[in-house]
Symmetry: C2
Subunit: 497 residues, 2 copies
Amino acid sequence: MSDLASQTQPVKQADKQAVAAALREVLPPEAVLYDEEDVRPYECDGLSAYRKLPMIVVLPDTVAQVQHVMRVCNERKVPVVARGAGTGLSGGALPHPEGVLLSLAKFNRILEIDTANCIARVQPGVRNLAISQAVATNKLYYAPDPSSQIACSIGGNVAENAGGVHCLKYGLTVHNIQSLDVVTIDGELVKIGGNGLDSPGYDLLALMTGSEGMLGVIVEVTVKLLPQPEAVQLVLAAFDDIENAGNAVAQIIAAGIIPAGLEMMDNPAIRATEDFVHANYPVDAAGILLCEVDGTAEEVAEQIKRVEKVLGNCGATEIRKARDEQERLLFWSGRKAAFPAVGRISPDYYCIDGTIPRRSLAEVLAKIAVLSKEYGLRVPNVFHAGDGNLHPLILYDANHPGELERTEDLAGKILELCIAVGGTITGEHGVGVEKINQMCLQFDKAELTQFHAVKAAFDPQGLLNPGKAVPTLHRCAEFGAMHVHGGKLPHPDIPRF
Amino acid sequence: MSDLASQTQPVKQADKQAVAAALREVLPPEAVLYDEEDVRPYECDGLSAYRKLPMIVVLPDTVAQVQHVMRVCNERKVPVVARGAGTGLSGGALPHPEGVLLSLAKFNRILEIDTANCIARVQPGVRNLAISQAVATNKLYYAPDPSSQIACSIGGNVAENAGGVHCLKYGLTVHNIQSLDVVTIDGELVKIGGNGLDSPGYDLLALMTGSEGMLGVIVEVTVKLLPQPEAVQLVLAAFDDIENAGNAVAQIIAAGIIPAGLEMMDNPAIRATEDFVHANYPVDAAGILLCEVDGTAEEVAEQIKRVEKVLGNCGATEIRKARDEQERLLFWSGRKAAFPAVGRISPDYYCIDGTIPRRSLAEVLAKIAVLSKEYGLRVPNVFHAGDGNLHPLILYDANHPGELERTEDLAGKILELCIAVGGTITGEHGVGVEKINQMCLQFDKAELTQFHAVKAAFDPQGLLNPGKAVPTLHRCAEFGAMHVHGGKLPHPDIPRF
């Protein structure tokens, strides 16, 4: 029925014991788990709607051990799913029931901090925020800041090409790393990338970044560090018309200003968060923008002046500059608490991640509102407006029979809407298992075939994270058929970029 | 003896006629050239030390024609070498004597300018500068600016991941394009990249960028456009000690300033250019820095103040801020005329392109001076200091027997020096045929093997630009042997990143 079909078959105990024994030839016994109560904690990542028990969980703490795990799995054709902190939202670390779940949790050391060249060598299990904390005394920091940065690990950030509120100005993970150590499926240690702005040979660094554990296992990351900005300022603007808010986003960028953060929330999201954290948001606004700029004191003062002017010209009904650091953090507190906030007003919620051209913001929000009514499911919206990265939050109740299915169907429709306006089905969360069907709409046969050829160049037997990120053509054929059955063949009316 | 050995074999006339006939089934006769006088103009690119006559030259002007060329060559196992404007400096467009040279010269139209989303869709043969000229009235421009930007084409820029004086702040070509249309060796048209900051699936956009015509032929490029900076200012600083100049570069970056351009020239380069363009450079300085910042008037004024402070602290003997636009262009004129300037003081010169960590600038310059004496060849240095991209210019006379060989040997030594300090053998010119041996030192067997696997995923028969960019393991074995024979096995003393 799908790439994940094999996961429904029972694990052969004999295999399990034999593989475990082979792994224990190099790994200590406590680093090879297979009893149900031991592997249960690894059954899902942040996309908890999908759960599978892995056959075996390994917790290596040296590169040599990772190489051994890969060689054993390669020889015995055992699937390998790498896992960082397990905070991913697209099911990229969902275990394979006949496979080995390779946890990088023990790779948690910062190996080197080179302030002269503004880089740090870290192990993949190091938490995103821990890097900035380690170099704070040097007035440096690591720019990408996913909402989960307290918990998520840098290895996972690389695997998903994670972003955050600052990626509009400072780029995604791929723009903030310099080199990787990767163990291939046959156990080879490969160094990727280098010191220079450019690197000879094919750009495997970018290829590996965002490849969702399909090409190799990351065992070391060299990240770029940036000087902490001297000054930061935040402006909150309210709009009585979401179209004006969307237009303001375009105008700020068109003015040549690249804010450190440019976030939008619609009215349902504003109300939910205000009730929760009391950030003093204007609860009657159709939408608000949070625009933060950073740099030297002079730059910031000058840019804020221009931002306020643009916001005024675009019909903002209210413009508030944070009076002090405390108020700046208060304004952010609402946006950052948006997910738990909607969690309070609904038993369950489903976070969607898609990207659209900025000019389509208002149009897409209007269409999401229509779909929301059609499905009878509330959908507050928060998003990284600057780079058109949407995070609609579908509110549902898993205890109501069929509501999860209806929610997933609505989520699919919203992603297809992103494609239809010339956008993509991911912003920063990856594809994983969550969006694998929509990949069939995003890409055509020639493109998917090329993806599979690249995959085979790294993993000829298809053992790395099988069934994730890139659908088989067979699966897409079925999905297309499913769509026809559903009365709609989406391909024709989706404009190719 | 090498990957290019096959190029010494004579072309079988029968093949030539049969291939030409097959090509003419779709291409008009005037677009299929094979008489010697017709193909002679294509015998080399900017690296004119290497020359080969192609078997056939094709000049398609539609994507369908390119697809036909690829299908014909794929069926008949005929090598295909794509060529843009032919300004490349590493021999990436050197023809294959038994192959088809595919010129994109007729793909010279700007297809769409989308100011709302700050992008332009252009054909690969469009000249780099023509893009900025076409959007100048919209106050936009395309940032990467190789020295050859008047002549070089955007397709070639993508193939080589070209840079320029502004890439420190605005990035290389890969950071300034959004999507590509590529024709694969089997004639498929594949769309790569998309509208969003992130794109689902593997990052084929970055993989294709800088792949030197080894993976496919680019038939359309969507470039990102930036708003023209409101203000620009340039500071010229003189140093009586090159180490101070190198230190100043590091200190400017460490101060959190990212100049739009940060160029260095040593004394021989200063003298050569001053004699030529009279840019009013301090001819007794050991080195000069040209530091340009752009942005709003306020930002520029504020940053220039800080730049001047840093330069003073680093022991600059003279600091001159351009008094007006005319003087700013005068200061640049020297740097931009550096190549023709050395061309005046030497019958021939060889431009090297390597990258080193900024902190190693002074050390590497000192070692280049030693090598220069050792080989009895003068080596003026100009470079993009901000990103550590060196362009030493070896002066020689091709009419002196053996001097070209000695020059190429010295060039190899300088590239190995770049590797030894933790840098790379390319900055922005690519590998082509020029640096293919040094690739054996830059990468180990596992890394080269992975490169070949990726290549095979796109081009299983190895027909695209054979013998370029990535050496065979066989070639590296021979090169290693040559080095041992030369009394030096470089591998052990080269620190891995």
